[in-house]
């Protein structure tokens, strides 16, 4: 078992969730309730990582983040580090390829909230922020929870994008999925088996937890 890779993966997943969830809630709520020109285009763009081969996504991120691109140069100038083959670059890639996993469940959850509940809140004297905090967010909570677990588990398992953008630097960009591949290449079957079993168990428990909690909250709301 590659503990360094596991720790790195957990750190990456945690940071991805921390950055992505607030953004996801914001974007999902906008997509659920607002009508604007180009909404279909935005939704398609967000869903793209679901169908795009991870290596394709990885390639474009690599090009975008690279030292010869404006984005890469700007990051380099501000933080004195490169975006490619670093943890920061990996995190940014992770946020991007997890967009659909975070946004879609939350968007569905917001869409299922009756519009008259918000109006009832306003008429009850709740400001828009209070309405969001005390009515919308609690009602959308199952969706947020799904997004959290899906994003976390998906980050642990992502391979193609990570390899393209991060490479395989121990302690910096070598995640558990990359490490697993390395172990198989090195005929280290024991380690590979342990790590595979861990990822399998983690994913299974995560999905089970989400469906259980979602059902419990759902039955409470009737």
């Amino acid at each position: 078992m590659d503990w360094i890779a596991l720790t790195l993966s957990l750190r990456l997943a945690a940071w991805t969730v921390v950055l992505l969830l607030p953004l996801g809630v914001l974007v999902a709520r906008l997509l659920a309730w607002r009508r604007f020109a180009g909404k279909g285009f935005v939704e398609a763009l967000i869903a793209l990582p679901l169908v795009l081969p991870p290596t394709v996504l990885g390639y474009y991120l690599l090009v975008t983040f690279g030292g010869s691109s404006p984005a890469g140069q700007a990051f380099q100038a501000v933080f004195g580090r490169s975006l490619v083959f670093t943890f920061e670059g990996l995190l940014l890639a992770s946020v991007i390829f997890n967009l659909p996993f975070a946004i879609q469940p939350i968007q569905r959850a917001f869409e299922s909230i009756q519009p008259d509940l918000r109006e009832a809140a306003w008429v009850s004297g709740l400001s828009r922020w209070e309405t969001f905090r005390r009515i919308e967010l609690p009602l959308a909570w199952p969706g947020v929870l799904s997004a959290l677990v899906l994003t976390f588990a998906h980050t642990l398992g992502e391979f193609g994008v990570v390899l393209m953008v991060g490479g395989s630097i121990p302690g910096e960009t070598r995640t558990i999925a990359i490490s697993l591949y390395d172990r198989v290449q090195a005929f280290d079957d024991r380690s590979a088996a342990t790590m595979s079993a861990f990822l399998l168990a983690f994913s299974f428990v995560g999905i089970g937890l989400v469906s259980h909690l979602t059902r419990r909250i759902g039955s409470r709301h009737g």
């Binding site: 009756q114 509940l117 109006e119 009832a120 009850s124």
Partner: protein, 379 residues
């Protein structure tokens, strides 16, 4: 209660799109105004405009001397700043909160430690003490409606708005909730606005009716007045009056209190109405309850009053009362409907096919401007 000249609710709305509105209404403290009209007549939109959930192109809303909306001056307070209580058609209770919390959440203006006691008092007001910890899904439709009313009252509103508040419950519960509302009204010294498509409900509960059609207030007044003197054939049809006929005004007799009306070659005495010159074509209506069946065995008083004969076309006993339709002069196009106690109808041998004579009480005959052909098709 203070009787300031601008106390109560004043509403004036006008716009072309998205829903045409041309409405004007007022409601005094303690008064219940019913907005009645078919679906799409704009009644819910008017209610939502008062609450600040919809903004009209052109309009003004003031309540208790406070201006909530005045498009001319650019005033448009958000719902949070308007002291309204709104009962939604499907109640819109917060599903994740208990009954008590659904009410407490509206008490943001009170100090924290007073909220619980106040919410308990409101629950008691709507007869739901003991249901504090239930969630909406665990309450019956009638109980949910009561929570919605309690929540609407929690803000100490200056006006209580109710959007079809009885439409989502069964008949028995509806009667009960309506009685409770009548009871509660005695303690509420604020304007109450009720939106309904149920005319019976409006008649029973409201002090004032406002009849809406395509966003326009067509007629307004106390229910008995609107029902007996609708003012236009369109309103008469909207409120379900069926005895509508065309006639010509022949003579005004103010000294006797009659306007003489010619109808199918006979002269009828109608209640005096100076608005129509002799020779004016009119549409007239007579409410079913002012059509009196003559007894067959012996004549009674009042038979001199506008006697009209015809053949019974339809006789439908509905429990204690029976609905009778008579074809006047045997003519198909002139059905005259009225209601008699079933036992009276039986005693007088009223069945389909027999000839009967009725009196059209002069006081019940209401003259209106002649109805244009298109209006007839409008409904």
């Amino acid at each position: 209660m203070d009787e300031a000249p601008n106390a109560g609710l004043r509403v004036r709305l006008a716009q072309e799109t998205p829903i045409a509105l041309d409405a004007e209404l007022t409601c005094e403290p303690g008064e219940m105004l019913a907005l009645v009209g078919p679906s799409g007549s704009g009644k819910s939109t008017i209610l939502r405009t008062i609450a600040g959930l919809v903004r009209p192109r052109d309009g003004a809303v003031s309540c208790n001397g406070e201006t909530w909306l005045d498009t001319a001056r650019g005033v448009d307070l958000p719902p949070q700043q308007r002291a309204v209580g709104l009962v939604f058609q499907h109640y819109a209770l917060f599903p994740h909160l208990t009954a008590l919390d659904n009410i407490t959440i509206s008490l943001g203006a009170l100090p924290k430690e007073e909220r619980r006691a106040r919410a308990q008092a409101l629950l008691a007001l709507v007869n739901l003490s003991g249901f504090e910890e239930r969630r909406p899904a665990e309450l019956s439709g009638g109980q949910q409606q009561r929570i919605a009313v309690a929540r609407a009252l929690a803000r100490n509103p200056r006006v209580l708005l109710m959007d079809e508040p009885f439409s989502a419950v069964d008949q028995v519960t509806r009667r009960k909730l309506q009685r409770e509302l009548v009871q509660m009204r005695r303690t509420l010294r604020i304007p109450l606005v009720l939106v309904t498509h149920d005319l019976e409900e409006a008649r029973m509960l409201a002090d004032q009716l406002s009849i809406l059609h395509r966003g326009q207030t067509l007629r307004r007044g106390p229910p008995t007045e609107v029902m007996s003197r609708p003012g236009s054939a369109l309103v008469a049809r909207m409120i379900g009056l069926t005895n509508l006929f065309d006639g010509v005004v022949r003579e005004q007799r103010p000294d006797q209190g009659y306007t003489m009306l010619e109808w199918r070659g006979r002269l009828l005495e109608a209640r005096y109405d100076p608005a129509f010159q002799p020779a004016t074509r009119v549409t007239w209506v007579i409410p079913a309850e002012t059509v009196i069946l003559h007894r067959r065995d012996r004549p009674s008083r009042g038979e001199r009053e506008n006697p009209v004969s015809g053949v019974v076309d339809e006789f439908v006993p509905l429990g204690e009362l029976a609905s009778v339709r008579v074809l006047v002069d045997g003519a198909d196009e002139l059905p005259l409907s009225f209601v008699v106690p079933t036992h009276v109808a039986r005693r007088n041998g009223v069945v389909a096919g027999v000839s009967v004579t009725v009196s059209l009480l002069a006081d019940g005959i209401h003259l209106m401007p002649a109805e244009a052909r298109d209006d007839r098709k409008a409904l």
